[in-house]
């Protein structure tokens, strides 16, 4: 914009944005604060807005030994479980969706549109809807309490397939033809041209799907029974809802802060590619 802005007009947007950030950030700050006091201070509500002095003790205890009563496993294991689950789901979804989108967009085969619509309608069938049959299958395959059982049913993804399909359809037909003339078959075209062009889309999907996997609650709750297969989201829930003991809020908050870190890390790391992947149309 060329017109000169008054001081007020320049400050106002910042005031609005900063207020918004404060509203979102305050609960997070509170959780961080709570994780630095001892149990008694948090329980009696004597917490101030400045950090306490129990931070190191709290984090050390939660990471390596766990709470006294509810979760017998240290959070370190849970973090690892959640990380493995989120990674396998995200990478698995990308791999499967890439291949299926490639087939749907670039190959002419009978029932191609039928196949596409079959994938498309699964958008209406999230885990929660098909929970019983899925559980039955996983149980019959002896996959309860395994990483395979935790991840495999969540890998198929209509969303990712659709996103790749949309991207592939913007690849100019001439590029496919130039590849044909250059002697690149379907596999070489996929590897040499399509994959490098899809990097930003893959990054965007990775971020979305990693967080999706990390936030899974219902499915891990159902199929994990052993303590050492718990994910961190379930761990937090177990710590907060206790029937026969006091909730150790400082530990629950420390766990919550730890649970925040990997998704934040993934987003920060992939930010540039992520934004590019969602907005870029440069060919």
């Amino acid at each position: 914009m060329v017109e000169r802005q008054t001081l007020f007009a320049r400050i106002l947007p910042h005031v609005v944005l900063i207020t918004g950030v404060c509203i979102v950030a305050f609960p997070v700050y509170l959780a961080l604060l709570a994780s630095t006091y001892d149990a008694a201070t948090v329980q009696t509500g004597q917490m101030t807005l400045l950090p306490g002095n129990q931070m190191l003790q709290n984090y050390e205890r939660i990471l390596f030994s766990g709470t006294n009563s509810t979760t017998r496993e240290p959070v370190g294991t849970m973090l690892m479980n959640s990380f493995i689950m989120a990674m396998v789901i995200a990478l698995g979804k990308i791999a499967i969706s890439l291949i299926s989108a490639y087939a749907i967009v670039f190959f002419r085969f009978p029932f191609r549109m039928a196949a596409f619509w079959l994938i498309f309608v699964t958008l209406m069938l999230p885990v929660e809807v098909r929970i019983y049959p899925t559980y039955k299958i996983v149980a019959d395959l002896q996959l309860l309490d395994t990483y395979t059982g935790l991840t495999l049913p969540l890998i198929a993804s209509a969303t990712a397939t659709l996103l790749f399909r949309q991207f592939f359809m913007t690849v100019p037909e001439e590029l496919v033809e130039a590849s044909k003339i250059d002697g690149a078959g379907p596999y070489k075209f996929f590897k040499d041209t399509l994959l490098p062009l899809s990097v930003t889309t893959m990054a965007a999907l990775f971020v979305i799907q990693f967080i999706y996997g990390w936030n899974q609650y219902l499915w891990p709750l159902l199929i994990t029974t052993r303590d050492n297969m718990q994910t961190i989201v379930i761990g937090i829930k177990k710590m907060i809802v206790t029937q026969d003991a006091l909730t150790e809020w400082q530990l629950a908050m420390a766990t919550a802060v730890l649970a925040l870190l990997p998704p934040v890390f993934v987003v920060v790391l992939m930010q540039k590619l992520f934004v590019k992947g969602l907005v870029e149309t440069e060919k």
């Binding site: 590029l175 033809e177 130039a178 044909k180 003339i181 250059d182 002697g183 690149a184 040499d192």
Partner: protein, 358 residues
Amino acid sequence: MASVVLEAVRKVYAGGVEAVKGLSLTIPDGSFTVLLGPSGCGKSTLLRMIAGLEEISGGAITIGGKKVNDVEPSERDIAMVFQNYALYPHMSVYDNMAYGLRNRGTAKEEIERRVAEAARMLAIEPYLQRKPRALSGGQRQRVAMGRAIVREPAAFLFDEPLSNLDAKLRVQMRLEIRKLHNRLKATSIFVTHDQVEAMTLADQVVVMNSGKIEQTGTPLEIYRRPASKFVATFIGSPAMNLFPGTIAAPGKVTLADGTGFAYDANVFDAKPGAKVEIGLRPEDAKASVAAPGRPKLVWEVTEELGATRLLHGMLAGSPFVLAMQADIDTPARELALEATPETVHIFDPESGRSLRRA
């Protein structure tokens, strides 16, 4: 280097649309052949069939004596330059040019030699490590041509490669393509809807209309001896004037108002009394002071084109355009027209074919 021979080639699309209707054509070794026609005439389809990107519904295509109907595009020994360049956006210019050679298992030193040579020829050496998006349209076009050259193919196929460039660059690239062809002497097939490109580039022009060949010949043949009304009006700008007439006697054709032109009866075969259509190019008609008994042009609008001036008007009830030197003062509203007999064309109004003797 090879000739390309098409025999009764047909293309029928799944919906039953016949895009190419049994077409035979020989493209001699080393020639520059331009397929010219309006959009939808089947010229691009034909080129894509030669390239192997479209299946052939009927007939045979032979490249260098080898029938290629069922041969993969990469095995046909052709290279193609696309309208939108179709460069691989994630590869450097060097890799774009080397990719096809690598896929064929060409030795590394040989690839380097060929890419370097093509880059020198096209003056794109400074950009070899850049990505296509860092290049201008003209540079991208050169890279696309470089990618074709390094393959050292039997035939180059160009699919309207200049239509994405601005007018100035188009003229420049047109000249360079011609120079390149003079140097490489490789068989080239060039598709365009631009008659100027066709006239300037071609050894042989193939004018196509709705899936069939209207006429094949050198640019001058096509211009001077159009075989049909379609060719006559498609080539030349502004288009040839067409107006009805009747053959009065061999060598003499009259217009609706009774005036007439002389034509060469040795060239055109028309019976006296026959209704015909007369063709006269705007630049072939000469204007003089109106006189009774002479074809009379009454003009309404002039268009100044710099070197020439166009007069739009009516001649015996039909629209007529006259091109004249712009340095002559604006003439009177009514003019007499004359034309030398060699420049008057006679067409059959039914079939649209020229009545030229075989």
